[in-house]
């Protein structure tokens, strides 16, 4: 009996001391952050806008979004200042993205992302975006089309980017990882506001080029696709402009599979050339004119034209980046470091200078594997 009593007391004490710990948080007491936009403040270095998810109960639970802006000397300062506005601490586990404005990025974003990467409450697998508008806040001010919460919608856009391929996806940890590697420069997707039917919605398109942690330029959606081609990050999307049949509308080719192999060729005197071999499988998805699809010669023509288009576009893109920006966003240096560390150790320093003069041979191989579910092009009856 005495033992039983002791045990009961012991258990009871345990219930008292172990049930709730210091950091106990109720869900209603949390302010869930969906996305962050970081701008230059008026009086302070930073102005942080967070999109907050508000869950209202009732018959149907609805999630609506609200914006909250605060300023601070550092990011964390601004974030903590939120308490003075909401009375609650912000909760970061569900945050999907961080949008950074142009003028902040042009001065280096290391001081912006360090807190986000370091703090234990935030997660480093958020998407990083650069706003092409004047401020990053505007993006979150737009209206979502399918989702009430813009941040979640943009995150979905990035997730489905693999069948559009007009922007890369960059997660914060990957950005930092590449920042530390000497042979690659970062690219970050850009987001702008697109207005249709008086509703302005965020649109993800194109990419921003970084030299170390500083923004130095932009590429548009089409060039982004070329970058993705070289980096072997292309998983889908279309090829159209330029591939024309009989000088009419272009043919739409959908990319099903694409594999890019990058190989360094070491010549005498440590001269480096790169071969970029692109292997793409596509399918004819839209043929505006009549064309005999079983005609092998025509198909071959189409194939070779597509190959040329891709080759030209990728080559142009590489040349543009080499001459205009001079940073290796394709990861040639990284490839060399990984596959040939001996050579890299000899010529690796000042890689960006060497990248400007780098000779890149692009080879493209296209395979057309099908034409949708329709075997012929549509023929008008005479």
């Amino acid at each position: 009996m005495k033992k039983f009593l002791l045990l009961t007391i012991f258990l009871f004490i345990n219930v008292m001391i172990l049930a709730g710990c210091w950091n106990y948080k109720e869900i209603e007491k949390l302010t869930i952050v969906a996305g962050v936009a970081i701008d230059k403040g008026e009086n302070n270095p930073f102005r942080v806008t967070v999109e907050i998810v508000q869950i209202s109960g009732g018959k149907e639970t609805k999630a609506t979004s609200k914006l909250l802006t605060m300023e601070g000397k550092t990011i964390f300062d601004a974030v903590r200042n939120a308490i003075s506005l909401t009375g609650k601490k912000l909760y970061w586990s569900h945050t999907k993205l961080v949008i950074i404005s142009k003028d902040i990025a042009e001065n280096g974003i290391l001081r912006v992302i360090d807190w986000y990467n370091r703090d234990a409450e935030t997660r480093s697998d958020v998407y990083l975006l650069i706003s092409k508008e004047k401020t990053a806040r505007e993006i979150l001010e737009g209206k979502g089309v399918t989702d009430e919460i813009k941040s979640f919608e943009i995150a979905d856009t990035l997730k489905n980017e693999k069948s559009l391929s007009k922007a890369p996806t960059t997660e914060l940890w990957k950005f930092i990882n590449d920042l530390e590697s000497p042979g690659i420069s970062n690219v970050v997707p850009t987001v702008n506001i697109s207005t249709s039917e008086n509703i302005s919605t965020p649109q993800v398109m194109g990419l921003a080029i970084f030299k170390k942690a500083t923004l130095i330029g932009f590429l548009n959606g089409r060039e982004s696709k070329s970058v993705l081609f070289v980096k072997d990050e292309l998983k889908g999307g279309l090829i159209l402009d330029g591939v024309q049949v009989n000088n009419s509308q272009p043919v739409s080719l959908e990319i099903f599979k694409s594999k890019t192999k990058m190989e360094p060729i070491v010549k005498a005197n440590h001269n480096i050339e790169f071969n970029v071999n692109i292997n793409t499988t596509v399918s004819l998805e839209e043929i505006p004119t009549s064309m005999n699809l079983t005609d092998e010669i025509k198909l071959k023509k189409l194939t070779s034209r597509t190959e040329e288009v891709i080759k030209k576009r990728v080559g142009d893109c590489i040349k543009k980046v080499q001459s205009k920006y001079g940073v290796d966003i394709f990861g040639f240096g990284e490839n060399l470091r990984e596959n040939n560390p001996r050579i890299w150790n000899q010529i690796g320093n000042n890689w960006d200078d060497k990248f400007k003069e780098l000779k890149v041979n692009v080879k493209v191989k296209v395979k057309i594997k099908g034409s949708g579910i329709f075997s012929q092009s549509i023929k008008m009856g005479d």
Binding site: W22, N23, D125, W173
Partner: protein, 370 residues
């Protein structure tokens, strides 16, 4: 008093959990960066000769533990001095492990809770386990290790979509020196820490089994640690060595679809088990040593005191987590070297000489003493 005995299987399980306990969460071989997995292999290879020495010592003296052997080899006074040294080492190691656990919970989960609270909780559980004896610890290990392995392998399998295998390249890109450094740190943490299990494995059944237990345990734990290191590198890349708790971060990246994510707690559970077993072993060895030193009838009478001291000691050990990381990765390997290699070798040589000189002395010595 009844003689406590554990089976080979249980002993091996204790050893494996002891190895993987804190190395799972702290990560090993950070010096070698993306070649850390080579360092793990190197560390195991380096550990094998030392482990053979431990096993040889144990198999020479069945049913005797480290402190008995020290006493027998060096005589009353020097033996006691060595015993004191090992008591200190196991006490300190236990405190370090508790502190790792405290820092982990404090950094990752509950930053506002005073660190002493989770540390004290672990201390209490370990006290209970040690008071129950090695048999109970062995049986807990046998029950828990399969679960640990299942959790860890499932989580690692789920991490495959997030792996970038080119992070492993360039292999040997920084030359051999960082790998050897990393291998040395893997050797001292966790593999050669198994020197303390000499204080426990007196409970093994036969004198052949120390070899089997030590070697097989080391190989299995080595494979597990290799797997985890491999996963961490391929998921995190070159920043791998910059995290305090790389495993936790790597696992937090895992998500299967939209429904299975944020599974880092599963790993935290592993860690708690590992810390529990490792601290229990350290506590047990410390208490056994003190009991032998002071000629107590039973070590159980001092478990609570030593455990409390250990927790308080670990609380005062460092000021911050930066200090902990600095100690764990820069100083510890050198600090632990004498306990792990030099003293065992001295002991081994002394014992071998004594044994060769007269086998009879050994038998009488072993038979009557202690």
């Amino acid at each position: 008093m009844r003689k406590e005995q554990i089976s080979d299987k249980e002993a091996m399980f204790v050893l494996i959990i002891y190895y993987i306990g804190s190395s799972f969460i702290l990560g090993v071989g950070g010096e070698a960066k993306n070649d850390a997995w080579i360092s793990v292999i190197l560390g195991v290879v380096m550990a094998v000769p030392v482990i053979l020495i431990y096993a040889r010592l144990l198999s020479l003296f069945p049913e005797k533990d480290l402190f008995d052997i020290l006493d027998w080899a060096f005589g009353k006074w020097i033996g006691k001095l060595f015993a004191l040294v090992y008591i200190w080492y196991s006490f300190h190691l236990g405190a370090l492990v508790i502190r790792n656990f405290g820092e982990f919970t404090n950094t990752i989960a509950i930053p506002e809770t005073p660190m002493i609270v989770p540390m004290l909780c672990i201390g209490i559980i370990c006290t209970v386990a040690v008071t129950s004896g090695i048999e109970v610890i062995g049986r807990i290990s046998a029950a828990v290790l399969p679960i640990l392995i299942i959790i860890v392998s499932t989580v690692s399998l789920m991490a495959i979509p997030k792996m970038y295998f080119h992070f492993l390249k360039p292999i040997l890109g920084n030359g051999f020196l960082p790998i050897i450094k990393g291998g040395f740190s893997v050797f001292s943490f966790p593999f050669a820490e198994s020197v303390l299990l000499m204080g426990v494995f007196s409970s093994l059944k036969t004198n052949k089994s120390p070899y089997r237990v030590y070697l097989l345990g080391t190989v299995i734990a080595g494979l597990l640690i290799l797997m985890i290191t491999f996963r961490n590198i391929t998921v995190l890349g070159s920043t791998y060595s910059k995290f305090y708790f790389p495993a936790h971060i790597a696992v937090s990246m895992v998500s299967l679809g939209d429904f299975l994510q944020r599974i880092e707690l599963a790993v935290a559970v592993d860690f708690v088990f590992g810390v529990f077993i490792k601290t229990s072993i350290c506590l047990l060895v410390t208490c056994k040593g003190i009991a032998k030193l002071l000629r107590l009838n039973d070590y159980r009478s001092i478990v609570i005191q030593v455990a409390l001291l250990m927790v308080y000691f670990s609380y005062t050990l460092y000021d911050s987590i930066m200090e902990m990381a600095g100690w764990a990765f820069k100083v510890y390997a050198y600090y632990a070297f004498p306990f792990q290699v030099i003293f065992p070798i001295i002991l081994f040589v002394t014992v071998e000489i004594k044994v060769r000189r007269g086998k009879k002395k050994l038998q009488t010595g072993v038979g009557t003493d202690g």
